[in-house]
């Protein structure tokens, strides 16, 4: 099917997952992602799939462990506090090298926080939310269309590396409606075989899904084997977009919905002759360092804009590595930066009114809304 449909983000992602061959979904209610579960409960059965509402996020993600280990194409979704509960099992899934896709429609924290859009789970998503040396691959769509396009990619990448892939959205991506054109339906029968899955040892040696290595030498070997895999992910799975990379002197750095706000600001500023562009990481891990290599020479500076008190900005600083100034602007807790406030912040930066790069305080909003 190739016609455009108007759909809510959460429902569109669920439909995209089914079209990508997902046949197993495990969930637990939490706002603002319930439409994913509800859509799966209604529709996945039509494709011979299975929907299970678990007793908790702890159980749902462990069902994912079992289902992925049995060879299923598995999706789970939740929002920030629920994702926190899943971190133990995500560590096990990464340790046991199982493929799955995790959607986090993140909301404001810490604690119970709020239910409005937020980007304050960047650290948790990209720096290892659970225990141990592991990485999960994180894709951050800026539009519903991009989320749907990334869904099939996420499953394929998860299978290729036998590693969890997270689609990190926020309440806005999940709740808003946009036109979307779905990618081609994946032929489930044509997906690569998983000879390692626990499907019964008839005619072969027994398979084991496991993350325990009590012998230090074995665990060390296992960890370096994982790291070798992550090195390949860093080489092959970096995704980003650069806007106005040809002539921009100042760059916004933003992902997800905030990148779209920055795009509005760019259009307005360019009318005034301000040469501003955007670096938009799509893969948050692996972080697109190479995007900064491309523009750092021409850039006078960067302004990272996030719905957080400053998380991704640390990776931006590592990528820029002191060569140019990196400023920050953020709102939290569901307060979304307005185009006007973002524009004013950039003008303040350009015109020298932001005293230092470590000045995170929102002078426009006064830190308050």
């Amino acid at each position: 099917m190739s016609e455009s449909m108007l759909m809510k983000g959460n429902e569109a992602l669920a439909e995209a997952a089914i079209r990508a061959g997902c046949r197993f979904y495990f969930g637990y209610p939490i706002t603002p992602q319930n439409e994913i579960s509800e859509y799966m409960a209604r529709r996945i059965g039509e494709h011979g799939g299975v929907f299970v509402q678990a007793e908790s996020e702890v159980s749902s993600i462990n069902m994912v462990y079992g289902a992925a280990g049995a060879g299923g194409r598995v999706l789970i979704s939740s929002s920030s506090p629920g994702i926190s509960l899943m971190q133990e099992a995500i560590s096990y899934i990464a340790g046991a090298e199982l493929p799955c896709v995790i959607v986090n429609m993140s909301r404001g924290g810490p604690g119970l926080g709020g239910i409005q859009p937020s980007q304050s789970d960047y650290f948790q998503s990209t720096k290892g939310g659970g225990h141990g040396d592991y990485r999960i691959i994180v894709f951050a769509p800026a539009t519903i269309q991009e989320g749907c396009d990334l869904m099939a990619t996420a499953f394929d990448v998860a299978d290729k590396y036998r590693n969890p892939v997270m689609i990190l959205g926020d309440g806005m991506i999940g709740q808003m409606m946009e036109p979307v054109v779905f990618p081609e339906v994946v032929d489930v029968a044509g997906l690569p075989a998983k000879p390692w899955a626990t499907t019964g040892n008839e005619g072969r040696k027994a398979n084991l899904i496991n993350s325990i290595y009590l012998d230090p030498e074995e665990l060390d070997t296992h960890n370096w084997k994982l790291e070798e895999k992550y090195r390949k992910v860093r080489e092959n799975e970096v995704r980003y977009e650069i806007v106005h990379g040809d002539d921009a002197e100042w760059f916004f750095v933003a992902y997800g919905t905030v990148a779209r706000i920055c795009m509005s600001v760019i259009q307005r500023l360019r009318k005034d002759g301000v040469k501003v562009g955007l670096v938009r990481p799509i893969s948050l891990w692996p972080f697109p360092d190479e995007a900064f290599e491309k523009v750092v020479g021409q850039a006078k500076g960067f302004l990272t804009v996030e719905m957080s008190t400053g998380q991704m900005v640390e990776d931006v600083r590592l990528a820029v590595n002191g060569r140019k100034p990196v400023y920050f602007y953020g709102r939290t807790g569901g307060a979304v930066p307005t185009p006007r406030s973002v524009e004013r912040r950039l003008r303040d930066v350009i015109e020298g009114r932001v005293p230092s790069q470590s000045d995170y305080f929102d002078r426009v909003g006064g830190g308050k809304s």
Partner: protein
């Protein structure tokens, strides 16, 4: 010469890490004999839990997944939903199942998951060195109840089989004991029924097996069996608590 007693095909030929006198070996053998007799080795998937039986996958010659502490019923649910033709069993101790994993076991029963649960109850945490479990008897000394379990502050032993028997989704719930040959034979029949139920699609089946931990109880294996008989049997009566007829 005709061998009359051999290692079950579904058990691997390795020395286990269990302490001398530990009934895990007996329980493993009963499960393996059952798998052999039912002819399901090639489609059985085990789920190992956290505790002394964490390495159960080394001893069963079937596909296995190793689960996080308490989560084996959730992992088994995932496996069974993807491969409904697989025969999926969890093997869990009382710390794993009755403490940290209480939500998972209850809700697997509530959903009537068509899985088999082998639950070893020896009233103590074995692998971590003899701490109090929810199943520890009143007055029983452990490293975290050094003066004996005091119900005023530590409550009373949880009776998993009785509890799960109240769950409509559970099909078969029974408690057996491994303290002497006659009871071991009965346990074998219960385990077989619990697997047979799954083959027939009857739903959630759990067999609780009373067991010992001579190492952490601080007794000889022989005295531990006697202690089980004298102390655990009164607290944990044996029998089939639920043989659900189409519920």
């Amino acid at each position: 010469m005709i061998p009359v007693y051999t290692r079950p095909k579904s058990l691997t030929n390795v020395v286990t890490h269990y302490c001398p006198g530990c009934p895990h070996g007996i329980a493993h053998r009963l499960v393996a004999e059952t798998i052999d007799e039912l002819g399901i080795q090639g489609k059985t998937v085990g789920v190992a839990s956290v505790g002394c039986s964490v390495f159960a996958y080394n001893y069963f010659d079937v596909d296995f997944q190793q689960a996080a502490h308490g989560r084996a019923p959730a992992v088994a649910t995932g496996i069974k939903r993807v491969t409904p033709d697989s025969i999926v069993f969890t093997y869990q101790g009382d710390g794993d199942l009755a403490s940290i994993g209480m939500a998972e076991i209850v809700h697997a029963a509530v959903r009537g998951e068509n899985i088999t649960v082998v639950f070893i109850n020896n009233a103590i945490y074995g692998m971590t060195g003899g701490q109090m479990a929810p199943t520890t008897l009143v007055g029983q000394k452990t490293t975290t109840s050094p003066f004996g379990r005091d119900p005023k502050t530590q409550g009373y032993p949880v009776k998993v089989s009785e509890l799960l028997a109240t769950v409509k989704g559970a099909h078969y719930v029974a408690r057996f004991s491994l303290h002497n040959p006659a009871n071991i034979q009965r346990a074998k029949q219960g385990i077989k029924k619990a697997f047979q139920n799954q083959i027939e699609g009857k739903g959630f089946s759990l067999v609780e097996l009373l067991s010992t931990c001579s190492t952490n109880w601080g007794m000889t294996p022989q005295n531990a069996l006697k202690w089980l008989e004298e102390n655990m049997l009164p607290e944990y009566p044996l029998g089939e608590f639920k043989t659900g007829e189409g519920e």
